[in-house]
């Protein structure tokens, strides 16, 4: 079976348009679901709304599709305000989480549906449906019913049904959540190659940071109805704007402490079990002496110092006690009690290496330039 999207793409390359969301506020009764959402999605971009369930990401997607209405704010597609258009006149293609394939129609009829609604001539419908099914590699299953297809095949049909109408933008609502783990990894590459081929501005809703990281150009991390941060996956991981973003993308170590002045050198972070960490001016963000906050760093920013020598230049020293360890294969993750707070450390593992035992004291060096200071 053909699992790669065929190179025979749809006839016309779709002209990419951008999406602008401005000052959107939406409430269900007293439940304020979207709070002052502002986003600018560029033409041709693969963009993700990422966040935990209940953060408002699906509500925002459905707002763009026209299935709910904001009390304030507007949504512009290609510069045109679509806030007052009914769903069927918006020309935004949406792939539903459940795929929503109609069980009473064959695959071909499902895919042809949108074109029939647009009164496209019969011969052209045939041609475009064939092209779309070809694109997802399912032409041979055109006469099946959706119930006779596997989950992955249903997913492709849903995609074909949506892209065949050549929508202005493509909305994907958790499209991979109903697939098994192996297929999910494969499908996300296929989604990406399809998106690149069509040049279609695409918005992808997911709660899985790995999915968003691997295929999206930029991500809007959402929580509690607000956009927490927008950026490329690397941006968000390396420079999280707040604790939520830090913790949602990858594992974050967080130490409580405060900023102290270090004379002429500038500011330093002082906390329990750690030597003072110099904060560059852009990192301290103008926080004056005495400002409480947290030092955030990743497990791989720490190095175990078995020799106990002085810290290397530009490193801070942490001392603690190993509480437990997890053998992960390529690395070993130790949880270390540093001044009463747990810190995760990843140590690379080679065959024959001895494991450190719990309750043993441990000395760690932190590359100071990798650490981030986050205010409360």
């Amino acid at each position: 079976m053909n699992h790669q999207f065929s190179p025979a793409a749809l006839a016309a390359q779709i002209e990419s348009v951008g999406v602008d969301i401005e000052g959107v506020n939406l409430s269900y009764g007293t439940n304020h679901v979207l709070k002052d959402v502002n986003l600018a999605i560029k033409p041709g971009e693969f963009f993700a709304f990422l966040g935990p369930s209940g953060c408002g990401k699906t509500t925002l997607l459905r707002l763009i599709a026209g299935f709910n209405t904001a009390q304030r704010g507007e949504v512009r597609i290609g510069g045109r305000d679509i806030s007052t258009l009914p769903p069927h006149r918006r020309d935004v293609g949406m792939v539903f989480q459940s795929y929503a394939l109609w069980p009473h129609m064959t695959v071909r009829r499902n895919v042809a549906f949108g074109l029939e609604e647009r009164r496209v001539p019969r011969a052209e419908i045939e041609r475009r449906v064939d092209a779309a099914l070809d694109l997802v590699g399912l032409k041979h299953l055109a006469d099946r019913r959706p119930s006779q297809l596997s989950g992955g095949q249903q997913q492709r049909v849903a995609l074909a049904r949506t892209v065949v109408i050549e929508p202005k933008i493509l909305l994907l609502d958790e499209p991979l959540s109903n697939l098994d783990a192996k297929l999910r990894v494969q499908m996300r590459q296929e989604l990406l190659s399809l998106q690149r081929k069509l040049g279609l501005t695409t918005i992808f809703v997911t709660h899985d940071q790995e999915e968003a990281n691997t295929i999206c150009d930029r991500i809007a991390v959402m929580d509690d109805g607000k956009v927490q941060q927008v950026g490329t996956p690397q941006d968000l991981y390396d420079h999280p704007a707040n604790l939520f973003v830090a913790g949602f993308l990858g594992t974050a170590n967080v130490l409580d402490g405060e900023v102290r002045s270090d004379g002429a050198a500038g500011s330093v972070f002082v906390g329990n079990g750690i030597t003072p960490v110099a904060l560059p001016p852009q990192e301290a963000g103008g926080a004056g002496a005495g400002t409480g906050g947290k030092l955030m760093f990743r497990p791989q920013n720490l190095a175990i110092r078995a020799d106990g020598g002085p810290p290397a230049p530009g490193h801070a020293r942490l001392t603690g006690v190993i509480r437990h360890r997890e053998f992960l294969g390529a690395s070993i993750r130790y949880a270390v009690d540093v001044g009463g707070q747990l810190v995760q450390v990843d140590a690379p593992h080679q065959a024959g290496d001895a494991l450190l035992s719990p309750d043993a004291p441990i000395i760690l060096d932190l590359a100071a330039d990798k650490a981030r200071f986050l205010r409360q």
Binding site: A65, G66, F67, P86, P87, H88, R89, R90, D91, V92, G93, M94, F96, Q97, S98, A100, W102, P103, H104, F113, G114, E117, R118, R145, S147, R161, T162, I165
Partner: protein
């Protein structure tokens, strides 16, 4: 080593308990369902005098004008009842599932009220309200100079049946509309579809299986019904003809049997057509509590129209109840919109003269319902939880009772058990009142069985395995874990069986041998034969409504409570 082999051997063997239960149930079904029905079919193909195989009875049937007219009438009445019932059910189903409508609660009760009164009970009252000289036509004639033949001949049967049976369509159609996932509709909108096209292309086809299920049920019920045409004095239909042949000419007349075979064939045909229409169309598309189609608010004018429709149907639905109530308190009610005066005398008559009808009914219906849930639970358990060979057949045979009209079962019992003398008394076995209980139990078994099966499916088998793992024997597991967990479903099955058995007439009327053994439905039929008996008959009907109404309410309460306890609120 030997002891180990022995244990294994014992485990591999079929357990004696379930096997014994299966044999007992099989014997019961064979004796009281299979044998009588096969007997009926057999006799239909038998020469009356020689007993040889013949088709001459069928030739007589198809060559007889009265029978052919009856056949055509039965078909016409059933088909028209489906049409009229659909006209009543469609707007109601559409209103509740598509709109934010306060009247939805009202519509839900509309779906229950008709079912708590069997159609034949209300038939006479409907005659007084809608007949040629009934209240409505008297008023129409006085004020507008015309009348509407609601109750003339076949119209009356269609009118009464469709008011009674439209809830089957309403319930099934609403359920399948509710089972359509919102994304089905939204994806169509997303692709540019809206309005009536959306309804025609997506919503309607997805709701079709539910509609077909409801409609075929209505068709079968009307086709098989004996009581309503009999009480409306419409005799040229198939079920009344079968009854009249047997009751007037005798159980040796082959025509009653031929008609029975035709009735069974048509039931099977309707079931087959509906199965065909539903095949491969399990369209329940709701996922992860996404539930139901999008609802919108009604505009003011639409709201008025919606309430208008609902109230009109409510009036129609309540008409038999109101009419029956009036009749039961009326001194004389003839050629006038409302009775001349009111009295309590009829209730007194019922209490003094016919208390036995009520006590008999309570006894028969509760015994039949008890039998149903015991057999239903046993079959459900055998089918779902044992590996007994042939267990599926118990289910099939029990469900086959659906296709057997009450008249046919009654005729079959008469034929099979009339020649069997009772021990001690020497009376024919078919005159024994317990036979009536068995007939009722067989008739209601399919519904009870489905309720019990559904209840057992909700009980995860790991709950049983946990009990066995902790040392409980199979029997103890069933009695301490399975049955308590099923109790809600079993109780609901009991109450439904009880309530419907209490007002069953088709089989009963064939089997009642003496007034003292007769249940309520039969008494009602006897009363309604004479003009003077109408008052007491209506009073008896009110008792029937109360019994069935209470039963329905109780089963509703039980089901709701069970649902809450299992945390399936919403």
């Amino acid at each position: 080593m030997t002891s180990l082999a022995l244990t294994r051997d014992r485990i591999a063997r079929v357990r004696p308990g379930p096997a014994l239960a299966a044999l007992l149930i099989a014997a019961f079904l064979l004796l009281f369902l299979v044998v009588p029905v096969v007997q009926v079919i057999f006799v239909a193909f038998q020469d009356k005098t020689t007993g040889a195989f013949t088709l001459v009875n069928f030739a007589d049937f198809f060559g007889n004008d009265l029978f052919m007219r009856s056949f055509a009438n039965s078909f016409y009445v059933s088909a028209m009842s489906v049409v009229v019932a659909s006209l009543l059910a469609l707007p109601l189903a559409y209103l509740t599932t598509r709109f934010e409508f306060r009247g939805s609660v009202l519509i839900q009760s509309l779906g229950i009220i008709p079912l708590i009164m069997p159609p034949f009970i209300g038939a006479v009252a409907m005659q007084l309200l809608f007949g040629r000289n009934g209240s409505v036509n008297l008023l129409l004639r006085d004020h507008f100079g015309f009348s509407i033949p609601f109750m003339e001949g076949l119209n009356g049967v269609i009118f009464v049946q469709s008011i009674h049976y439209f809830p089957f369509i309403l319930i099934n159609l609403s359920a399948s509309l509710k089972n359509i996932d919102r994304a089905m509709e939204e994806s169509a909108q997303n692709l540019g579809c809206h309005g009536f096209r959306l309804f025609r292309r997506i919503v309607f086809p997805l709701a079709m299986p539910g509609y077909v299920a409801g409609a075929s049920l209505v068709f079968i019920k009307v086709f098989d019904d004996l009581g309503t045409p009999l009480l409306l004095n419409v005799n040229d239909m198939l079920a009344p003809q079968a009854y009249l042949r047997i009751s007037s000419i005798g159980i040796s007349d082959p025509m009653g049997y031929v008609i029975s075979v035709v009735l069974i064939s048509c039931s099977l045909l309707a079931l087959w057509v509906s199965a065909l229409a539903m095949r491969g169309k399990d369209y329940a598309t709701v996922q992860r509590g996404g539930g139901g189609l999008a609802k919108r608010r009604l505009k003011p004018l639409e709201m008025v129209a919606a309430y208008g429709i609902v109230l009109l149907i409510l009036v129609l639905v309540l008409a038999p109840h109101v009419g029956l109530g009036l009749l039961s308190f009326a001194t004389i009610w003839s050629f006038s919109p409302v009775p001349d005066a009111f009295t309590l005398k009829h209730y007194q008559t019922v209490f003094t003269e016919s208390g036995q009808y009520i006590t008999n009914t309570l006894l028969y219906a509760s015994l039949a319902a008890l039998l149903d849930v015991v057999i239903g639970t046993a079959i459900a358990y055998l089918v779902l939880r044992t590996k007994l060979p042939g267990r599926q057949w118990l289910d099939y045979i029990a469900m086959a009772a659906l296709a057997v009209p009450g008249v046919v079962l009654g005729i079959g019992y008469l034929r099979s058990f009339y020649g069997v003398p009772m021990p001690f008394t020497g009376q024919p076995l078919s005159n024994f009142w317990l036979i009536l209980v068995f007939a009722l139990a067989i008739r209601r078994l399919p519904y009870a069985l489905r309720a019990c099966t559904a209840a057992l499916q909700q009980v995860s088998s790991s709950l049983e395995e946990a009990a066995e793992n902790l040392g409980a024997t199979k029997l103890r597991t069933v009695s301490r874990i399975v049955v308590p967990l099923m109790s809600g479903g079993i109780l609901a099955g009991f109450v439904t069986s009880f309530a419907t058995a209490a007002v069953e007439l088709s089989a009963t009327i064939m089997l009642v041998h003496s007034q003292s053994d007769a249940p309520l439905a039969y008494g009602l039929y006897v009363y309604m034969q004479s003009a003077a008996g109408r008052g007491p008959g209506a009073a008896l009907g009110i008792f029937a409504v109360i019994i069935v109404g209470l039963g329905t309410y109780l089963s509703h309460v039980v089901i709701e409570r069970g649902r809450r306890e299992r945390g399936q609120d919403q």
